[in-house]
Subunit: 140 residues, 2 copies
DNA sequence: GGGCTAGTTGCGACTGGGTCGCAATCAATA
DNA sequence: TATTGATTGCGACCCAGTCGCAACTAGCCC
């Protein structure tokens, strides 16, 4: 357990949004100035292997980066809005049921799950509907 | 509609496994020798936007590549085995229910979903159990 | 406390998937 | 058939992530 690892872990734990590796590096440097990019990646790798964090793609809304979050008791869905870029989290007993079904029916031993949904969030869906109504009310 | 696009589309449609961009390029070159990498990427982009294909990460089992498949009537889960690397597909009414619930409860307008599960497939789970039994039966 | 060693770090070079700008070309329409 | 907006090929480029290696250090044992 080195100072560098502690810094990375603390940053992930205290973050209240999804961080990518670059953001993680910046924040970790506040605590441990000299820390290197490679070290951050290696620590992420380690934490993934230990199942302490989950890796997310968030529908590649912002390029190919990966995001990280501490693994919670309950898996959740990430809802990524293509329009405003917001990420919502959603969890449901149905998801748990689905995982149980997969384990049972397919005999698959689940270690990680990643359910990402892309589309329009509630606010953006409403906004688009409104825009459409206005466009058809006054056709050119 | 150019010959290059036709080539890419035909390759994806007739493929019976998940292709990454590089494989797609190779196969497309069989049909359309001069076709360029950038063109393939641009066509993939286009097909994604038109919702004709889905993009998969397959749990980054083989690095950061993306894989593509033609969008089917029914969404399915991809089960990626960390041990043997096989990809299984699984679909269930529960998944459909979950999507309906998200639409309703969160007011989220779903356009794409990606559910990937990593772990051990049935065969590999059995193999590991067997290996463990043998290891504990004859401790050093 | 001091020395030993396996494991960790920093560095720099590298890989590989994917993107971009631009000039040349082409498909589709009039 | 002439026109033109879209598409292509090319080369340079970007950026996330990886690797090999020498230097360093945490943690243990004495």
């Amino acid at each position: 357990m080195t100072a560098q690892r502690r810094a990375v872990i603390e940053v992930i734990q205290t973050a209240n949004e999804h961080l990518d590796a670059a953001a993680l590096l910046d924040l970790a440097r506040n605590r441990e100035p000299g820390i290197d990019r490679a070290t951050v990646y290696r620590t992420i790798e380690l934490l993934k292997r230990l199942r302490l964090i989950d890796e997310l793609d968030l529908m590649h809304l912002q390029g190919e980066k990966h995001y990280y979050e501490v693994k919670t008791r309950r898996d959740h869905v990430h809802l990524a809005c293509f329009r405003c870029g917001r990420i919502e989290e959603y969890s449901s007993p149905l998801f748990e049921q689905l995982k149980a079904e997969i384990t049972e029916q397919a005999g698959f031993e689940i270690r990680v799950t990643r359910l990402e949904v892309g589309g329009n969030c509630h606010a953006c869906a409403e906004a688009e509907k409104k825009a459409q109504r206005e466009a058809s009310a006054k056709p050119r």
